[in-house]
């Protein structure tokens, strides 16, 4: 019954959104990025860093298969996870990918990279 209610609620929300907001196609493939953030705060430790890295890499592959961009922040988050896992080379690569996909992140991530490479917490 509860599931049923959720379905009805979602249906209703969808009906209303299409009524008052313009329906448009997603710009990005979203996958697990936000659920990883949710779990890391709500259920810390449930997903290991390696599992989170694997999930984000799966999303990257899926996005490529669909011909979509990954969401803003995904590569930066992935880079941070690699850094936390001790893999600075992979972290650098991910930070650079975010900068290439979204030039708005360039100054911020350049700072992160510089701090990481001088042995500080990024």
């Amino acid at each position: 019954m509860n599931r049923f209610k959720i379905a009805v609620f979602t249906l209703c929300a969808a009906t209303l959104f299409s009524g008052c907001a313009q329906q448009s196609t997603n710009l990005y493939h979203w996958g697990s990025y936000e659920n990883i953030i949710y779990k890391s705060y709500e259920k810390p430790g449930e997903l290991s860093i390696q599992e989170q890295i694997e999930m984000l890499n799966t999303d990257i592959t899926k996005a490529q298969d669909k011909g979509k961009k990954v969401s803003p922040g995904l590569y930066a988050h992935l880079g941070y996870l690699y850094f936390s896992d001790g893999d600075e080379a992979a972290a650098l690569q991910a930070f650079n990918m975010e900068q290439t996909l979204f030039p708005e992140s360039y100054p911020f991530l350049t700072g992160m990279i510089n701090r990481m490479q001088s042995g500080q917490q990024p």
């Binding site: 609620f9 929300a13 959104f17 709500e42």
Partner: protein, 225 residues
């Protein structure tokens, strides 16, 4: 079997009506927002700081934070990685969201360099039990500020409500139904879903939400759907 079906159909109809009433309040009626300042600055990138929490639910800010990127990015803005930013600020001596909201814009520009900062306040959050039903609420308000000048570019608020109703069938039936609903609802936290709906309404409601950002405009100009 068929009796049960009729009964549940009635319940569904009632539930549908209530849920729709709760959602419909965000649309229409209010006069259009004045976008003069917004259009003058046209931000490309938005930094979302962890929200200040006025509710009694301790976990609310981070559930919120995990449901804000998608509706904002799909509106066409670059959204900085919310959890990485939170971590960075905590490591730099800013343990609470109130501390983070008090960081001077010049400092934010130096370290992160967004075009605009989104300051969110959680006004109400969580589940309330009434006699025969329970209501889950997520109510938030936001201010978007230009990082160079401190100009307020936009502000808005949104609320999403889910009512777990009874479908009629007398008070005793209702009490039993309420008890069952509470037991079920205790296992499922509806707030992430409601936070998503509230954010969608906050950013996407025409004439009240944000204007389309550059990535949405580009995709429209290219003739993509």
């Amino acid at each position: 079997m068929s009796i049960y079906f009729v009964h549940s159909a009635k319940k569904v109809a009632a539930g549908f009506g209530l849920a729709c009433i709760a959602l419909i309040t965000g649309c229409a009626t209010t006069p259009p927002y004045d976008y003069t300042a917004f259009e003058a600055h046209k931000p490309r990138s938005i930094l979302v700081l962890p929200p200040v929490n006025q509710s009694i639910e301790v976990g609310a800010p981070y559930i919120y934070l995990s449901r804000v990127t998608q509706p904002l990015a799909e509106k066409g803005y670059y959204v900085f990685p919310v959890a990485v930013i939170d971590q960075l600020m905590k490591e730099n001596g800013l343990p609470t969201s109130t501390d983070m909201h008090n960081v001077p814009l010049a400092k934010i520009k130096e370290i992160i360099d967004p075009d605009a900062v989104l300051y969110i306040t959680i006004d109400n959050w969580g589940q309330k039990y009434q006699v025969i039903s329970s209501t889950t609420v997520v109510k938030v308000s936001g201010k978007l500020v230009d990082v160079d000048t401190g100009t307020l570019l936009w502000e808005g608020h949104a609320e999403a409500v889910q009512q777990s109703d009874d479908g009629g069938g007398g008070l005793i039936g209702a009490l039993v139904s309420a008890a069952i609903t509470q037991i079920i609802n205790n296992k499922i936290d509806h707030t992430p879903q409601l936070a998503r709906i509230a954010n969608h309404s906050l950013f996407h409601t025409p004439d009240q939400g944000l204007l389309d950002g550059p990535y949405r405009e580009e995709s429209t100009n290219l003739g993509q759907p």
